[in-house]
Amino acid sequence: MAIIERETEVMVPVTVTPTSTYGVLKRPVSATGWRAWVFTVDHKKLGLMYGATAMFFFIVGGVEALLIRLQLAAPNGKVLNADLYNQMFTMHATTMVFLFVMPMAAGLANYFIPLQIGARDVAFPRINALGFWLLLFGGIFINLSWFLGGAADGGWFMYAPNSGPVFSPTNGIDFWAFGLQIAGIASLTGAINLIVTVLNMRAPGMTLMKMPIFTWMMTVVQFLLLFAVPVITVALFLLSFQRNFGARFFDVAAGADPLLWQHLFWIFGHPEVYILVLPAFGIVSEVLPVFSRKPLFGYPFVVFSGAAIGFVGWGVWAHHMFASGLGPVSVAVFSLTTMAIAVPTGVKIINWTLTMWGGKLYFSTAMKFSIGLIVLFTVGGLSGVTHSVAPSDTQQTDTYYIVAHFHYVLFGGAVLGFFSGFYYWWPKMFGKMLNEKLGGWNFWLMVIGMNLTFGPMHILGLQGQPRRMYQWTEARAGEGFFNLAFWNLIASIGSFVLAVGILLFLINVVITARNPTKSPLDPWNSRSLEWMTSNPPKEHNFDVIPTVHHLDEFFHRKYEEDSATHTMRQIATAEEIMAEQERNADKHIHMPSPSYWPIVLAGAVPIITFGMIFSHLIAVIGGVILLFAAFGWALEPSTAPESDFENNSSQGTALDKVGH
């Protein structure tokens, strides 16, 4: 579907033009009200909906985490029973990984990749919409299990054979497996869409090495998704067949080896870790240069180390299995590769530090979160290096030390990165700036809360408290005031401090929404293309597609180097650049029309999976709906015909909605 209009010959019937299209329904055209959201194919609206969905699940996962910490605050906790606790930690991880971090990254990528590369939308707008709806329905589907007999209780790693029908007789794992399949389709379509977008739709002059670093990191993530999601899809199919159709892939009595699941899961699972954390690396690499007033130090190193992580990330999966009994040779090899992957990760830390070195640092909330990320991620990275030492890992694996490690990596990395992105991009997305003062409180409470929660877990783990236990006993807590009971209590208190920090963010959002003050056009003195348009951007993003000459194009349009002092001198303001663009606006901009079918098609999928679990009749009905939606989709015209628009001239300044 062409988005940038070019003059092409169009096949038109010779004699008579039929008035009706083949589509069963006309394409919707509404640009207001709820229809504007439900049927939209606009990457910005979809990006915001991804973000809102992710935020909702972040709260769900956070409440699950708080319940877990409540249960573990004291010995022999009675808040949850064993069954519920097992469901809780399984769903906490599943929610945070698949329904918060991945969609949030997808949302930011959706919103900002087209803006950063100077495009008007993504390559496949309807597939983009399908991806979002699948994710939302998949997430709801997984969580439905809470109300239908109990959620999945096998841990997010879902090791066989404990995930089999005998050991987990409720439907929780069925919901989990099918729900993740649905979300997996979303990830896969999203990955292909963004890869095609980045490779084909960059503004003229933007070579790959002039591409903003966030777009680069997100592109690496999309490639990781493209290859990792099929692996988990296979694994989940095996699991579903085992549970729903009597297959015996992991049945030891039938000669299966349960380690098959572990290999499949972690070949997906380790790249998944980078899928979770690289978006945050991209955000930080955007934010630090802006607030240091200096380009990213060693841009090619950051790009290539990101790509290197993307490659080496495939060769380290068995470090999750050092205690599984792989044999010393495999353990040694994976130990080595795991150490190797620390190097490109270290490169990033070094580059971020050197980006700030010699800069002119302005400590906005976004910058605070980014610096917080560098420090806290380093802690997580270094504890990660201690795991690469396999013998040492056999003492630490499956203890709270690991919990501490990956929360420093994922909370200290991914989540702080996202919050940095929220504060940085909020004016771009909503035209209003989040309150910086409240932002400071938000930052400090989150950082303190996070260190209080996860810091003590290093000690808990090294002193022998295993993970995934619904209760711990005083008998194994040791003696002295600072025994494990003390640290468990501190961690629980910390988790509530953390929760208050996040609550402050939500309050900040509400306050900002009610505040009528608009943000300036370029509040942070930014550097990349997404700031070279209005706040929030128009539906077609750019009045004129910019031609790119520099890595930080926007910055170089505003500033010029003083040849004597080598410092930068302002030559234009953002407003001037914007006005210049509006003067030269393209006359014919052709945007894809909204569509009914993505949401209908996405809605059919959970009906099918629901039917797989409860009654195949329902699955047949879902299948019919799916077929119907696929037809509607295929037969839909690529744009709504002229006559469908009520008022041609109502849209935008020079926007000609109809095309041709």
Partner: protein, 416 residues
């Protein structure tokens, strides 16, 4: 002890490093830091991974302490660099700096240095990995079998230790000191993981596989452990305890385990208990040498009642200090503390004394017999058993009368 001093020293260092990395927030974290420094003070945690009590755990400890220290130093360097940058380059109205895009030589140097550090670490790691995988210097073999949610230990016949007939036990692993013991692990249902932190790292017990784990204790002692691979409902309650006995004490233990069954005295309460046992418990629990009323040996058939196919062998129950997968103590609190806190050279004698009537933890044992699933979450409710064809996972509720429970307790006390 010299050794533990060094250990706590290092621990302080690492703890401080963990903190220093967040030094940027030092003012606010002052209190938190002070408390975290004190982490070194957490004493005698039974599962502490930094207190090796045998050569295998020592290999790991010798490797990980320097690694932690190096990681800490690197973290410190990063933290200091960032604090420096933050204070030095704060916006004080200076001009926008030159737009430099990096210095490749510096970049490459800073890439190679961590790579070299890791290369050195890798060399030592490799050495340790292969040392810990050796099986050809074994002196004693113990088969360990995981099942939801307890461990079974069986000792194949090994005449040099006086084991002429295989010994079968559960709950507590008993081993001689200074002997290279090799555990051969497997599982009957899901994946479990065997872990005695003081003696070695963990190794998963995977159904369908036999995997080995080296254990050796330097001195007599009791070591706690915990199943560390999530294994379902009662994962948290799947504990283990390893007891290292001097060679002489171990020989006594072996002799007792091989002793013939002694039927309870005629007309005693225990004898009535034996009848209850034959009526109920023997469906799953084997007691070697126990005869039915008709004189035939009572053979348990757990495979017909329990999904995973086995239940603990209770032949010498009272020689163990725990029951129900080491979830509960057979010894009362006071008696147990006496064993656990005994000096190394007295532990053997105290442990071998077993459980006497005075020391029995009547409360937990009776509660267990009254309604086991209420004590420990298990799949023992008949409505939950459709997937297993009616077979239990764990001990079911038996609806025993208080009278029967008293008789049973009396009988179990005779299983020395």
């Amino acid at each position: 002890m010299n050794h533990s001093q060094r250990h706590s020293n290092l621990k302080t260092r690492v703890a401080s490093v963990l903190l220093v990395t967040s030094k940027k927030y030092q003012k606010i974290f002052g209190v938190a830091m002070a408390t975290m420094f004190a982490a070194g003070c957490a004493q005698n945690a039974p599962q502490d991974t930094w207190q090796p009590k045998g050569p295998n755990a020592k290999i790991i400890d010798d490797l990980q302490q320097p690694v932690f220290a190096v990681a800490g130093i690197i973290g410190l360097i990063v933290a200091v660099a960032i604090i420096y940058v933050v204070f030095k380059y704060k916006d004080r109205g200076q001009a926008i700096p030159e737009q430099t895009h990096g210095k490749p030589a510096l970049e490459i140097t800073l890439t190679i240095i961590p790579a070299l550090i890791l290369a050195v670490v890798a060399v030592f790691t490799f050495g340790a990995i292969f040392k810990l995988a050796k099986t050809d210097d074994t002196e004693m073999i113990i088969n360990v079998t995981g099942q939801q949610w307890w461990w079974e230990y069986d000792y194949p016949a090994q005449n040099e230790f006086g084991i002429n007939q295989p010994i079968i036990s559960s709950g507590q692993l008993v081993m001689p000191v200074g002997t290279k013991v090799l555990l051969r692990e497997t599982s009957r249902d899901v994946i479990h993981s065997y872990w005695i932190p003081a003696l070695n790292g963990k190794r998963d017990a995977v159904p369908g596989r036999v995997q080995t784990l080296r254990l050796e204790a330097d001195a007599p002692g009791l070591f706690a452990g915990q199943c560390t691979e999530f294994c379902g409902l009662s994962h948290a309650n799947m504990r283990m305890e390893a007891i290292a006995l001097s060679k002489a004490d171990f020989a006594k233990w072996v002799a007792n385990q091989q002793a013939a069954y002694v039927a309870p005295a005629k007309d005693s309460l225990a004898q009535q208990g034996e009848a209850v046992f034959l009526n109920q418990c023997v469906r799953c629990h084997q007691v070697n040498g126990l005869l039915r009323a008709d004189g035939t040996p009572a053979i348990a058939a757990p495979d017909e009642n329990v999904w995973s196919g086995a239940a603990p062998n209770l032949t010498h129950l009272m020689s163990r200090n725990t029951f129900a997968g080491a979830t509960f103590d057979l010894l009362s609190k006071q008696c147990r503390d006496e064993v656990w806190n005994a000096p190394s050279d007295e532990i053997g004698a105290k442990y071998l004394a077993g459980v006497t009537e005075d020391c029995l933890n009547q409360k937990d044992l009776r509660a267990w017999l009254r309604n086991a699933p209420a004590m420990k979450p298990m799949y023992a409710n008949p409505t939950q058993l459709t997937a297993t064809g009616g077979k239990y996972r764990g001990m079911p509720y038996l609806a025993l009368s208080e009278d029967d429970i008293s008789k049973l307790v009396a009988y179990l006390l005779t299983l020395k």
